[in-house]
Amino acid sequence: MRDDTASRSPSPEAIRIEGLHKSFGPLEVLKGVDLVAHEGDVVAIIGGSGSGKSTMLRCINFLETPSSGRIVIGGEEVRMRPDGSPADRRQIERLRQSLGMVFQQFNLWTHKTILENLIEVPVYVLGTPKDQAVARAERLLARVGLAEKAGAYPAFLSGGQQQRAAIARALCMEPRAMLFDEPTSALDPELVGEVLGVIRDLAAEGRTMILVTHEMKFAREVSSHVIYLHNGRIEEEGPPDRVFGDPKSDRLKQFLKTVA
């Protein structure tokens, strides 16, 4: 069932998850899941509502605290207490700075302009000189087609523009990998395309990405590996053409039929 990772290019590991469990009170949301993403991989996580896919993504940068398991970012294992909570706050902060997260609800800071949103973390957390950060931010905004919106406040942008700005904000930290948590689920249908276009470009330039999505066609197109989660377990995984073109398990077949 498992995809043979050794057959792919032997580039270094970016993200590794082993035996990840997560419970909210009595409810076990993740029942031991694994994931390996090498540099340049695009891993798509799909699954129904409540399957645990967002939780799995959010455990990577500890927005959710795992109950147990191992998480390794760029060869560095996150030090955890026996209950899964991070043992070293500073390590978590440092590792988070190497992971660009994009949220369903964009989460741009409403009291800052788009440009201020982009340079906030580089300047005030990473210590990048301001002129350098501004130059990089302007380059990234131009790339996502928002050069003329640098001075605007987020509330005055469309959802698609906000999400493109949020992607640029994450890129501005020059992260090792990008984490996308259903980046188009909050968008009007006609705005989905512009955001997927930006993500597609990132995949094409060989960025490491973990992508939780409901866009099956898109997942098949951009990903190098697909994970299908069901009830907190990996039901099936493999290369996209295999998973989508020739699903083995009945649950995945059923799922693909309902979302098609």
Partner: protein, 248 residues
Amino acid sequence: MELIGAAGAASTLDLLAYSPPGWGANLLRGLWNSILIAGGAFGLGLLIGIFGAYGKLYGGPVLRDLLAVYTTVVRAVPELVLILILYYAVTDAVNQALIAFGHERIQISGLAAGIVVLGFVQGAYATEVLRGAILAVPPGQIEAARAMGMPATLLARRITLPLMLSYAIPGLANLWLVATKDTALLAVVGFGELTQETRQAAGATKAYFTFFMAAGALYLTLSLVSTYLFARLERHARRGQPSVGGAR
């Protein structure tokens, strides 16, 4: 009535003149003291409020209980009673301690005592105003900063506090106006703020109506200027947020 009529406009102006025998300088000194106390108390209250709000939201159970006792007691007991308790009891306790350690008894300045006492009261209200405002900040924006590895204190300073300000300002403006008027309560402990100065001027000249009207006008002016400044501050804090006014 006859007294006022007999005194006439000219002598009213004489009474309020800046230099003696007018009492204008005394009133302005009182006003200035009131502003100092209100400003100091408001600032201290804000500081207590920030720590109180964060403590109530993120603190451990012991800290939360202590803060609950603080906000409950201070908000339950009348300010005047608190001022009498804190002013006399606290200065007495400080002096007892000083004597016990072999020091001289000291006279605590009315200004410092006033700021501490009113600040302590303001802090309880500010804790609740700020706690509510922090809860009103969209959690996603705080989560975004956390996800990018922003340390907690920087996150509070750069993201949470500026964002909560727009929710907190109406409540804080109320607190400031209450602070300016609560300074009048310090008259009972004989501190020379505006009300006390007014009382002395009125008592000495028997022109009660004139002086209390003048004091009222000064309080009103202070309030109008404050309201204007808070409105400007609120506009700044709400930058980037579309106005709801247009939807009416």
